[in-house]
């Protein structure tokens, strides 16, 4: 008796599951740090994506299906990120927007690559992720670190006409990597590097280093790091009447930099992702997020733009086939909250670029610098 019913029962269950599968939503993975120290980097991206997905579903979804976000937390740890990637594969997501940290992204990419899942990161800026060319299905909606270095180097050579440079960094992941990239780019452009120095963040003062810079008297000092050290060094340098130009990355482009550095930081150059807060669609998204008590924070807009690009690519491909999505991502230009963007053959964003700012009258002023090729 029992045996007679067993097989049909199983069949029914199996078929019903299959039927559920057919009707299931179109799943898009959202991976990043949503708890822990680095949560402020991941949560705005998650919130912006939830908003974008809600709007898309309200407007009829994608390819006739509802979009469902699969949100997983990798706490920015490579080990956890690999687990997250495996879960994403098991969930059969169509694509992933994430991860947030470069290290986590690096750990997860081989798994996505093996499963042929396209990935767009809104924030992983480590250059090798795209430049090494190992992950053709990987894109990112933020310029990589080397871009800033290239813009700085171009500016130093083309506008400042500098012949000699001193490189200083804070020995940290961000500052050191950026400073050494600038060094590399400057060498390529024939600028003489007089010295490369690393400072300990939080040290009492940097007088000895500043005197050393004074002795070398370079045309330009490129500092990789954050604003507290930058203000200490440049203040000391100006007090000692060192005339060299100073340039840094987005680590110094912070209001406290000017508040603390006062007149000593006048004329300081800084590269940073272009300020896009003036675009109407950007203002709208920011407003909608604010209405929900959220904010676009650090990478929310990049995540939103990644989502827009992905959705348009899937629409144009008419399917969720990874190769077709990849082809469309490369081919299309899409209007996003970052402005009109497309992806270069390596998967890096083009259009939402790096701007060069200078401190003038206690404001960061965009110099609208365009590097000559």
């Amino acid at each position: 008796m029992w045996r007679r019913w067993f097989l049909p029962l199983c069949l029914t269950l199996f078929l019903s599951l299959a039927a559920l599968e057919v009707q299931a939503d179109l799943k898009i993975g959202v991976a990043g740090a949503h708890s822990g120290d680095l949560a402020p980097y991941g949560i705005p991206a998650r919130d912006a994506l939830a908003l974008a997905a809600e709007k898309l579903n309200a407007a009829g979804g994608l390819l006739g299906q509802k979009v469902q976000l699969v949100v997983l937390d990798d706490v920015c740890k490579p080990g956890v990120a690999a687990d997250v990637a495996n879960k994403m594969v098991a969930e059969r997501v169509v694509a992933v927007i994430g991860h947030i940290c470069s290290g986590a992204t690096k750990a997860a990419l081989p798994i996505y690559q093996a499963a042929k899942i396209p990935v767009i990161s809104p924030s992983a800026t480590s250059p090798e992720l795209t430049l090494e060319g190992r992950y053709p299905l990987f894109f990112r909606s933020i310029p990589h670190d080397a871009k800033q270095a290239m813009v700085q180097a171009d500016f130093i050579v083309q506008k400042l006409k500098a012949k000699t440079a001193v490189i200083v960094h804070d020995k940290g992941d961000y500052g050191k990597a950026l400073a050494l990239l600038v060094e590399q780019e400057l060498k390529k452009r024939g600028v003489k590097i007089l010295m490369v120095e690393g400072v300990t963040p939080g040290a009492v003062n940097y007088s000895a280093l500043v005197r050393k810079i004074g002795r070398e008297a370079p045309d330009v000092v490129a500092f990789g790091g954050y604003h507290p050290e930058a203000t200490k060094i440049v203040t000391q340098a100006r007090k000692r009447r060192i005339k060299s130009a100073f340039i840094s990355g987005d680590g110094v482009k912070d209001p406290s930099f000017i508040k603390i550095g006062r007149h000593y930081v006048e004329g300081y150059y800084a590269t940073s992702p272009a300020d896009i807060s003036g675009l109407p669609q950007t203002q709208q998204v920011n407003q909608e997020l604010a209405d929900r008590g959220q904010s676009s924070g650090n990478f929310g807009l990049q995540a939103h733009a990644a989502f827009t690009a992905l959705v348009q690519a899937i629409k144009r491909a008419g399917s969720t086939d990874p190769e077709a999505i990849k082809k469309q991502l490369h081919a299309q230009t899409v209007d996003t909250v970052l402005g009109k963007i497309h992806f270069d053959p390596q998967g890096d964003i083009v259009g939402a670029g790096i701007s060069l700012y200078q401190v003038k009258d206690a404001q960061f002023v965009d110099l609208n610098f365009q590097p000559e090729p």
Partner: protein
């Protein structure tokens, strides 16, 4: 004079400035250790709080339009008083109840106090860097000397020397100094002879904290910014300086601070700032190999 000599003296004065700050803090570590055999890990935080108190008062009085010099004096006085009060309170809360406990207990309590104070400043003030009024900017130009030393650095060095002198007089010629030395030598004996050891220990904490506050105001006015974390690295370096000079020895702490500051400065000036910390700790290791009790420290006999 040759350019090489100019550079040498520049690096020397840069090191002297840094060494002065280390020395001021190292004194606090060493005095407490000398008397209690305890390492006061919250000392760096007292330094940080001194800087914040100075900031509050300097900002308050700068609104009223006082001159830089007056502001400096006000900030210094306020910071010294507040830090002294903090030192007194920390000793009462975190160390006195543990006077008879095993040695590790007050050490853990010190670390706890340090974390508490840092978090307290984050909550009560801010976790951001804040600008400290540039109190040394009104100082006159030093004329021919300005290639060697900035006015601010000169003030730091001179004030430190003055404070060291005062401390020397206090330790050598006052009753409190005598009591401190007596307790450092043998606490039980001193108590038998009628020294109120708890009171002297309190004074020691107050004194050490005041010195830290002086250092904090000097350097904050010089570099122009502070945050809740500034006491951490300086604290470690000053502790290193105290060990280097022989922990428990007051001249040793001053000497250790200067040696450490100069070593770091010369390492940066002539080799690379990448190796600044390496040289600082290498010299510590070297000195401890040849003089395990530090430069001026005495070998303590384990009391049984």
């Amino acid at each position: 004079m040759s350019e090489g000599f100019y550079y040498l003296s520049e690096i020397f004065f840069a090191g002297l400035t840094r060494g002065s700050i280390y020395a001021l803090l190292a004194l606090g570590y060493t005095m407490v250790y000398g008397i209690l055999g305890l390492i006061n890990f919250a000392h760096g935080e007292v330094y940080m709080i001194g800087a914040f108190v100075g900031l509050v008062f300097a900002s308050l009085f700068s609104i009223m339009g006082y001159s830089h010099l007056a502001l400096f004096a006000v900030a210094l006085a306020a910071a010294v008083i507040w830090a002294g009060a903090y030192g007194f309170t920390i000793e009462r809360i975190a160390y006195r109840p543990l006077r008879k406990a095993p040695r590790l207990a007050p050490l853990i309590s010190a670390i706890g106090m340090s974390i508490f104070l840092r978090e307290y400043v984050i909550l009560a003030q801010t976790s951001d860097f804040v600008a400290f009024p540039a109190l040394f900017e009104g100082l006159p130009d030093l004329g021919p000397l300005r290639d060697f030393i900035q006015p601010g650095e000169l003030v730091i060095t001179l004030v430190t020397l003055g404070v060291l002198g005062l401390l020397f007089v206090l330790i050598k010629f006052t009753k409190l100094g005598l009591a401190m030395r007596a307790i450092a030598q043998d606490r039980e004996m001193a108590m038998l002879l009628g020294v109120d050891s708890d009171r002297v220990i309190s004074y020691t904490f107050v004194l050490g904290s005041m010195l830290a506050a002086v250092g904090a105001i000097l350097i904050a006015a010089h570099v122009g910014q502070i945050n809740y974390h500034i006491g951490f690295i300086v604290g470690i370096k000053a502790f290193t300086a105290a060990v280097l000079g022989g922990i428990g020895s007051i001249p040793g702490a001053a000497l250790g601070g200067l040696i450490l500051g100069l070593t770091e400065s010369f390492a940066t000036g002539y080799i690379s700032s990448d190796y600044e910390d390496v040289f600082a700790f290498a010299i510590l290791v070297l000195i401890l190999i040849f003089k395990p009790a530090g430069l001026l420290g005495k070998n303590r006999q384990e009391k049984v």
